[in-house]
């Protein structure tokens, strides 16, 4: 398996108001804290979850999420 670009989910905390739809789409990656805000994603988005991550980015009502492709790290 060759090195693939890693994809990171970035949360703009100044926009996020805790709708929580991202955690519904990505329960493997995000949990909501006691105030309804998503946790920091633990590391890059695994390949099987990337299409859900893209959907989370597209459905965030305040556009607080984005995906950043990083060149493969060694």
């Amino acid at each position: 398996m060759g090195p693939e670009p890693t994809v990171e989910l970035l949360i703009d905390r100044t926009r996020c108001v805790g709708h929580g739809s991202c955690a519904e789409l990505l329960p493997e990656l995000l949990t909501l804290d006691e105030w309804g805000y998503p946790s920091n994603p633990a590391g890059p988005v695994p390949a099987p979850l990337q299409r859900f991550a893209r959907r989370a980015v597209g459905t965030c009502p305040v556009l607080a999420l984005r995906l950043a492709e990083q060149p493969a790290r060694r």
């Binding site: 970035l10 703009d12 905390r13 100044t14 926009r15 996020c16 108001v17 805790g18 804290d33 006691e34 105030w35 309804g36 805000y37 920091n40 950043a68």
Partner: protein
Amino acid sequence: MTSTTSRHWAQTVPGSTALPRVLAGDGRRDLPGHLARHGQLPDVSGSALLDAVEAAGLSGRGGAGFPTARKWRAVASGAGPAVVVGNAAEGEPASSKDHVLLTTNPHLVLDGVQVAARAVGATRVVLYAEPDAETWAVLGEALREREDDRVELIAARHAFIAGEESAVVDAVSGGPGLPRAKPPRVFERGVDGRPTLVQNVETLAHAALVAHYGPGWFRALGTDDEPGTMLLTLHGGRGRTVAEAEIGTPLVDLVDLAGAQAVLIGGYHGTWVPADAARSARLSRASLGAVGATPGAGVVVPLPRGSCGVVETARVLVYLAAQSAGQCGPCLNGLPRIALVAEALAEGRATPRDLADLRRWAGLVQRRGACAHPDGTVRLLTSALEVFEPEVQRHLAGRCSARDHRPILDGRS
């Protein structure tokens, strides 16, 4: 050292270990006084200045201690002409060093602004400073004396987080002066989307001295890893003084620790260090790191034995919660809760369950803000819970051991 740097500056310069450096020793803040001390800035290229600042080993004096040359190179290699912002937004209530530097030695700071602008190739130069009457009068006069119409003076927002680099960029760009999410970092995309250097004014003053005298001179004071001097705001006897000290100086030579139980190092985002540990520590990242602290922007506050660390910390936490920009959910929700429970603890009304909440919230807000305000607030809180643990237990039992209730740390902005 590169050949460009050695060509311009001698390896050793007489008086290179004399103090003060960035403060004006003779008390003259006018241009003739400045020129008598240092002369005109030497005519050195931007790349030679970059090399010299790198060889000097200068690091940021605004609190984070980032290597200055690395920051300058990042800005210089950015896309398009750069912007330089001299940062004198000193929102920290316990710090006065930038104000003192700017109002007693403005021309050295302006030299530093010029050096940074040349080094990174800036086409726009801003000084972002608190708009108090004294600062404005001194800077206005200094710019007139230099016949410098290039430096724009922009009034800093008066708030704890005003000096955070993305907040500075926001204000200079015409916004309300609030932190913004990263990436992009301001050295990539800052003011008007241009690569932007936001540099503390004290750091700029040191850079000016490197330009005047060279890296060899700069390294004659300080430690090998942390060369130079730094400005400090030293508290004690219910007053404060701003002093310049060599990095590596023992803390006991700077403040009176005889009657102290603990020392707050680094300001309101800083760390409580037990007095015993402080007595053997030196003013350096290496030495203070061993006791869990950093010099930060040079605030040192001894806490007398008769005062209560729980009460002092609670007062600061209430202030810091009020200083949240309120943009990021965890900070907006966590800091006021932390402050309320810390206040209840200070007043002897908290339960062990409240204390558990406090520790849980501390974990929840960390690394979840656009800026480091929640992280700094938690740093203060967790060091207080550790250093003042016996006092925390006393407060849970509704008691307080303070004999002197006059505040040491100010809760006002």
